[in-house]
Symmetry: C2
Subunit: 200 residues, 2 copies
């Protein structure tokens, strides 16, 4: 008896269901919550969704999400233009910014190489990175792709692509996460921590 549910309600439930991690039950719950909430709640969310794409773009230099182009990091004279951290996604950039210790600039690839998902080097901002490194004569590229199979594959590809330039290519350290418990650490992480051990 799906017909008991009016069409505008099912449409929104279906729209919510298409979001990652939102199943039909959560989608219903959100929709019925909005039905009971004041009008400007759902209208505000609708407005924010409309503005998201209309008011943002990719920075033409680093491909981070931005309103002004170039973005405030690329246009800041306080950031070291000679160092580029290469990340997969804008959220990874935010994570590095939150540490507060990185003073260089960024390059957002918008993904990682993943043959399974049909994502090759040409689908990422890799050509743009190589061109940028050559043009800006960067001193160091810190590869900050995710510590997994796809991030590793991407890192290896980048290393090869940048080999023809004089830039120094580094990668974030791998090892035990702070606050973790050796007993619960997976063996790949432990292996990496052993390989990367340092003198005390």
């Amino acid at each position: 008896m799906r017909s008991a549910i009016p069409e505008p309600v099912t449409t929104l439930i279906e729209a919510f269901s298409r979001l990652p991690g939102v199943g039909p039950k959560t989608a219903s719950r959100l929709t019925y919550y909005l039905l009971r909430a004041p009008d400007d709640f759902s209208l505000g969310l609708a407005q924010a969704l409309n503005n998201l794409k209309a008011q943002t773009r990719f920075c033409s230099v680093c491909f981070n999400i931005t309103v002004a182009d170039p973005c405030f990091i690329c246009s800041s004279s306080e950031r070291d233009a000679g160092t580029l951290a290469v990340v997969e996604e804008p959220l990874d950039l935010m994570a590095i910014e939150r540490t507060g210790i990185y003073k260089g600039r960024y390059h957002v690839l918008h993904g990682a190489i993943s043959p399974v998902d049909g994502i090759g080097p040409d689908d990422l901002k890799i050509r743009e990175l190589v061109a940028r490194v050559e043009k800006e004569q960067a001193g160091e590229v810190i590869i900050a792709t995710n510590p997994g199979m796809e991030g590793d594959a991407t890192a290896m590809y980048l290393q090869r692509e940048l080999a023809s330039t004089p830039v120094r290519v580094t990668r974030l350290a791998r090892g035990l996460p702070t606050g973790g418990d050796l007993e619960y650490v997976d063996s790949v992480t432990l292996m990496r921590a052993l390989e990367g051990r340092s003198e005390l």
Copy 2:
């Protein structure tokens, strides 16, 4: 360094965060997912949100969500007008509809009495229910509020309010959920199942 995130992005993250069960991490994830998805994904969701309130209303008879007023259940001649199932929310109505065995009509209270949340009888469609029972000369009111403290309080209140009318007031049975395991059933449920035991 929150300033690394453009305003339209933070606005949507905040709008998502206000939804129940959506924390700041999920809100970010949804927002960045939409940033990468095709434009019509976020625009479609925005449109569905705009239509939700604009195209729906409460049925003036039973207060279910509907496009046409009265709703298709209230206007159907195939539904028994003499029996009213009283539910807290439209989703509860859908749940009963899904059983496919209920042929009566509904009355949606839009909540339950909850002194903790400051929700009293006047905040619910209780006065409308009593007036409707009197006007339609209903034969039976099945109280289908949730089997919890607030649903129980609401049921007791309704019973008292309807005592002055000749209507028969019943409530959904309480007991063991089908497929459940006695070992894992909470003691209140088990107590109710004992109290409500029937001859075989």
